[in-house]
Symmetry: C2
Subunit: 354 residues, 2 copies
């Protein structure tokens, strides 16, 4: 056998456009998927929600798998993202998670003191969150050539829910812990990084072919606070996931001034929101990282010609450079028309440049 | 008389540090004031609120003036800001404004169609909002050497309340109007720029010595949407106020990627939030504009040594360059300790550089 016939470039073995783009390999089409692509905006999902709560869906791997598959069938996206919630690991931690109707998450036992942190229970993802791994295993059997994305919340975003006791606008209790009781803050972040790392690695070992770390609310922080209070912990999770040989996507909103630091956290792909033009964001990050984004989810309520204008603008800014994954700048909003989402998938796939 | 004895540099006539900094003139101390420096965190204000609603306070010029003066007396700040609400002009427009207890503003007749815009009533600030001008006149008699800042909401932020019918997180109805019904959007912005310009000019003519245009929520937009849907209208108001010969401050949050466009709107001072280090923001804006900011309001809940570290960091980044007005990156939060606010004023005034 001649040496020239050996496959020396293993990247050629990766065929799924989404996974190739994560690795900055050329693709025929720009891959596209949507954050929160499974959920309330889909009639198939609402039909299931009539019988099961959000947590019940997560707890039943076959139903979670079915919900994960719904948008793959309906939209023709290039990746599936596991249906789950970033707060699932908070359940075995013992913070009393509830999803009140139309209210978002409520945590009955918020974490405010060092004693609260010490009282958090140890988490074994295989036993405590095994239902997530079971859903992943079912999905890998169903999905064939569509890659499956696993995910977790980043420690800051998860910590903010645990400290505030639910959603927040100002993150006042969270920031006050940082500034007034850094010992407790660091203990909590240390604890969460371990739990979230174990959880993410377990998802990869169960079959997730890429993972996304959601730091949705981290844009509430200044760069200096991000560096001192968040970066080391996000970095730890991302490095552990990368060591499992799958691509890691790092996502946040309002992150323009944090991008150089997020780059240091070391993911393969960084999510951009619509506040920064894709090319400007990619320039800040440098050419050695892929980018994901960045259509404003509100645009999915606009007429198609208008959406096309914005979608093409994003693709034009990506300029055919390998390493762009098309997505929204944040999750799909409730009441988004499904036909419009499908139309955007087609627009992205059919784009020829201009 | 020799020509050399003539006062040729009129800037030397301006003595108040706040007004000098607005004009980028040197000052002995860095001037400091706080957005929402009058309000619920002060016991004197809460005592008045036991008897009067927010709107009642605004409607009674003597009470509005008293509330405006409370923080000037208690804190030693370098400017007073008129106690009012950015939605006051919405009352004569006829949108049915109410302040529900602990809920923020609710507008009973939101603006959703071109007919709704056409139904907005004409506003004469002197007759419809005369109580604001009366408060300004009282205050100018009381304040002596402390300058008085008047203000209005910017058209985008006011429009967002009018379209959403209250506060919003996603601004979905607002953006949907922009994208799906630009004719109605532009008609509303045109109408609001006229009303808000007249209102701001009336405040200046009543005695306001500087004005701030609050575009608090504009950071929800991409730069391209800001340019197409917002900039021309904000520009109009700012230019009209500048023509009255008072300095204009232009404020928003989450505006990192909008700063070059906000600069085009033409104000003398631009507000920065804590998401961008003050020197980085000032560099983007260029040396021909003053900057205001940018302590995170959440820091006022931290211990004083921690606050001092952040306050000194901001002052160090300003580096003694004329044209920095110290402020928060957004309004004072409820329950902020008054003593801490006072301590920050002293920290800023006592700063010697290091």
């Amino acid at each position: 056998m001649q040496p020239s016939t050996l496959i020396t470039d293993h990247s050629s073995l990766i065929t799924a456009p989404f996974l190739r783009a994560c690795r900055r390999l050329p693709t025929d089409i720009t891959p596209v998927w949507f954050m929160r692509q499974a959920g309330r905006y889909m009639p198939e999902y609402r039909a299931i929600r009539e019988k099961y709560s959000l947590i019940e869906i997560c707890h039943h791997p076959e139903i979670a798998a079915e919900v994960t598959l719904q948008p793959v069938r309906a939209l023709g996206v290039d990746a599936a993202i596991l249906f789950a919630d970033i707060l699932l690991p908070a359940i075995p931690l013992g913070v009393g998670l509830e999803f009140a109707k139309g209210e978002g998450p409520i945590l009955q036992n918020p974490v405010r003191t060092l004693a609260d942190v010490k009282n958090l229970r140890p988490v074994n993802p295989e036993t405590d969150l095994g239902y997530v791994m079971d859903a992943i295993k079912i999905l890998r059997g169903e999905l064939k050539d569509i890659p499956l994305i696993g995910f977790c919340g980043a420690p800051f975003t998860v910590a903010s829910y645990m400290i505030e006791g639910g959603s927040s606008r100002e993150f006042l209790k969270t920031k006050t812990m940082m500034y007034s009781d850094p010992q407790t803050w660091h203990a909590l972040m240390e604890k969460l990084s371990v739990v979230l790392t174990d959880y993410l690695v377990a998802q990869i070992r169960a079959g997730a072919q890429a993972v996304q770390v959601f730091d949705s609310w981290v844009g509430a922080l200044s760069p200096q606070d991000y560096q001192n209070f968040v970066l080391p912990y996000s970095q730890k999770i991302i490095q552990a996931a990368k060591a499992e040989q799958v691509p890691v996507i790092h996502f946040g909103t309002n992150t323009t001034t944090l991008l150089p630091l997020m780059k240091q956290a070391g993911s393969d792909v960084i999510g951009l929101d619509w506040r920064i033009p894709l090319d400007d964001g990619w320039k800040i990050l440098g050419g050695d990282v892929s980018v994901q984004g960045n259509l404003d989810p509100a645009l999915l309520f606009a007429p198609l010609p208008e959406i096309k204008k914005y979608t093409h603008d994003i693709l034009r800014r990506a300029n055919g450079k390998p390493g762009h994954i098309f997505n929204l700048g944040h999750g799909i909003l409730q009441n988004t028309p499904v036909d419009t989402v499908k139309a955007v998938v087609d627009m992205v796939h059919e784009y020829q440049g201009n």
